[in-house]
Amino acid sequence: MTALNPIEALQAAFADAIEDAQTFRGETTIVVAREAIVDVCRYCRDTEGLAYNFLSDVTGVDYHPQEPRFGVLYHLYSMIHNRSLRLKVLLPGDDPVVPSVTEVYPAANWSEREIYDLLGVRFSGHPDMRRILLPDDWEGHPLRKDYPLGKETVQFSFNFDHVDQYKPYAQE
């Protein structure tokens, strides 16, 4: 079977859902509308000339303060044609929800939970949408760019008292 060009094949099959396609350093990235991501993944996996049978990784990026703010990236790989493809879904900051692809690629299960945990992007239809790395009662999503970085001011002689009053033990 001959390998199809993924950009042409997907544009022909999902004319409305393919928003953009680019190649950088030999890697193809196709931007897909979020409603279509499950169907596009299924098409990529089951079409003979594409046969992206292996999902390497799902990851998320926070492009804050740009809008659309979040990107969810799917790294697909075809063991038959020995090539990779990256699908990308862009999500608005006020509504970061994307359909889960676990029914097509069960390997996405924990990766999607990790993205939810660290970036706060929710995956609708995921069988077990809980935090995975952080404790259940953790507040916020640390990989977001507006998540405050913790720090402690160094105590010198000139600011000793000022820093001291903000130390946890000083508040008693």
Partner: protein
């Protein structure tokens, strides 16, 4: 037996929803915690088990105890500074992590790597594979009850760590690979030390095999346990020896050669049964193949520089700064500000001892990475553990966890 509903447990039943079946709530099955401080979980892994007698009905791994936010830390380090963080993820495969990250930076910046550095990278990455497999074999055998193998494995591992110490000054956290090549060339005593190891080690692998391969107890405990079919292995994202144990011939060193792996001759061992025993056989054979690669790399080691001469990305050596104004400017720029790669996103995969280690790098054109993500094999393999463990005895779970060779530092990052 009392069910959870009637027991003295004060927790919220909602917390257990989805983790255990209805049968656990009525007391028909028992819920048991294994870990996080259990010697056979190879670190701090908690497994919530639902048991029917001794048979596992449900297994839910709970990870995150070693989460240190390394991916967030990357975002506040410059590209060159960040290499040091990569060692600390998978602490049994430090140079392999260095390699994945450096390859990603090199792909992003289109930086060249001299042939000598590429060969040395391959050589050291394969020694790291041996190092990792030795720890795996020792602890896996210890879990199942073969005590002495552990001592022998750690005795040989010491030799590998000595070689790392010789080249990098550090036994475990080597940070020896840098974007564009290596930190510095290997010392003179490197070649004889590696040759000594090459002569000494093959007989030791045979010794391990004498202790285990035909051992009826070992075979009883490992054959037919933790079965994973080829289809399921691909579906669940398994890679490395876990995938090849199920007979799928996919090794990234062969499929997508990086760092001149295509110059070397080696075989990829495959299993037939997809059980714990086959994964054991594969890792043993991989150690032999790694020795083959190390020998070829040492025999054909090219001479020349070990770091790229592209001064926009690689700082000049001290000797150049003394007499070149331009070198001084580059030195100043690189150490105060760092380099600025072009905007873009790349994903690089390498074959770590555990499987596919992927590094995703997003750059916004500033000296610090916008986002770094590691696709770590331990994380994905643990998500496949419930599938492998269901229906087995609780005693076999220890063997299955050992056979997928997890490192929790790699899993939690």
């Amino acid at each position: 037996m009392t069910g959870i509903r009637d027991s003295a447990w004060e927790g919220d039943l909602e917390q257990l929803k989805g983790l255990v079946s209805e049968r656990a709530l009525t007391g028909e099955t028992m819920v048991l915690n294994m870990g996080p401080q259990h010697p056979s979980t190879h670190g701090v892994l908690r497994l919530i088990l639902e048991l029917d007698g001794e048979t596992i009905v449900n297994c839910t791994p709970d990870v995150g105890y070693l989460h240190t936010g390394i991916e967030k830390t990357f975002e506040s380090k410059r590209y060159e500074q960040a290499v040091v963080l990569t060692d600390r993820m998978d602490y049994l495969n430090p140079l392999g992590n260095n390699l994945a990250y450096c390859l990603a930076v090199e792909k992003l910046t289109e930086l060249d790597v001299p042939p000598r550095a590429q060969y040395l990278r391959v050589l050291l990455a394969e020694l790291t594979r041996i190092n990792s497999h030795l720890v795996w074999l020792g602890t896996h055998a210890l879990d199942i009850g073969a005590m002495s193998v552990f001592l022998y494995c750690f005795r040989e591992r010491e030799k590998v760590l000595d070689i790392f110490e010789m080249v990098a000054g550090q036994r475990m956290m080597a940070t020896y690979f840098r974007p564009g090549g290596l930190w510095r060339d290997v010392p003179e005593e490197f070649e004889p030390a590696v040759r000594d190891f090459l002569d000494y080690f093959p007989a030791k692998i045979d010794d391990y095999e004498k202790l285990l391969t035909e051992n009826p107890l070992w075979r009883d405990r490992t054959q037919g346990i933790g079965y994973l079919s080829a289809d399921d292995a691909v579906r669940l994202g398994c890679t490395g020896p876990t995938l090849r144990g199920s007979g799928v011939n996919w090794d990234i060193r062969k499929a997508i050669p990086y760092s001149s792996y295509d110059h070397f001759e080696f075989d990829v061992p495959l299993g037939q049964h997809g059980d714990v025993y086959d994964r054991y056989l594969i890792r043993i054979e991989e150690m032999r193949q790694s020795l083959r690669i190390v020998r070829q790399a040492l025999d054909n080691l090219p001479s020349g520089p070990v770091r790229s001469n592209n001064r926009k990305y690689v700082p000049p050596p001290r000797s150049e700064i003394g007499h070149s104004m331009e070198a001084l400017i580059h030195h100043f720029k690189l150490w105060t500000e760092g380099f600025r790669p072009p905007e873009g996103e790349v994903y690089v995969r390498v074959e770590s001892p555990r499987g596919e280690l992927g590094c995703f790098l997003a750059s916004d054109g500033s000296p610090r990475p916008w986002r770094v993500h590691f696709r770590t094999p331990s994380f994905i393999h643990l998500s496949a553990l419930p599938h492998m463990a269901k229906g087995h005895m609780i005693a076999d779970l220890v063997g299955i966890v050992g056979s997928i060779d997890i490192v929790l530092g790699d899993c939690d990052r």
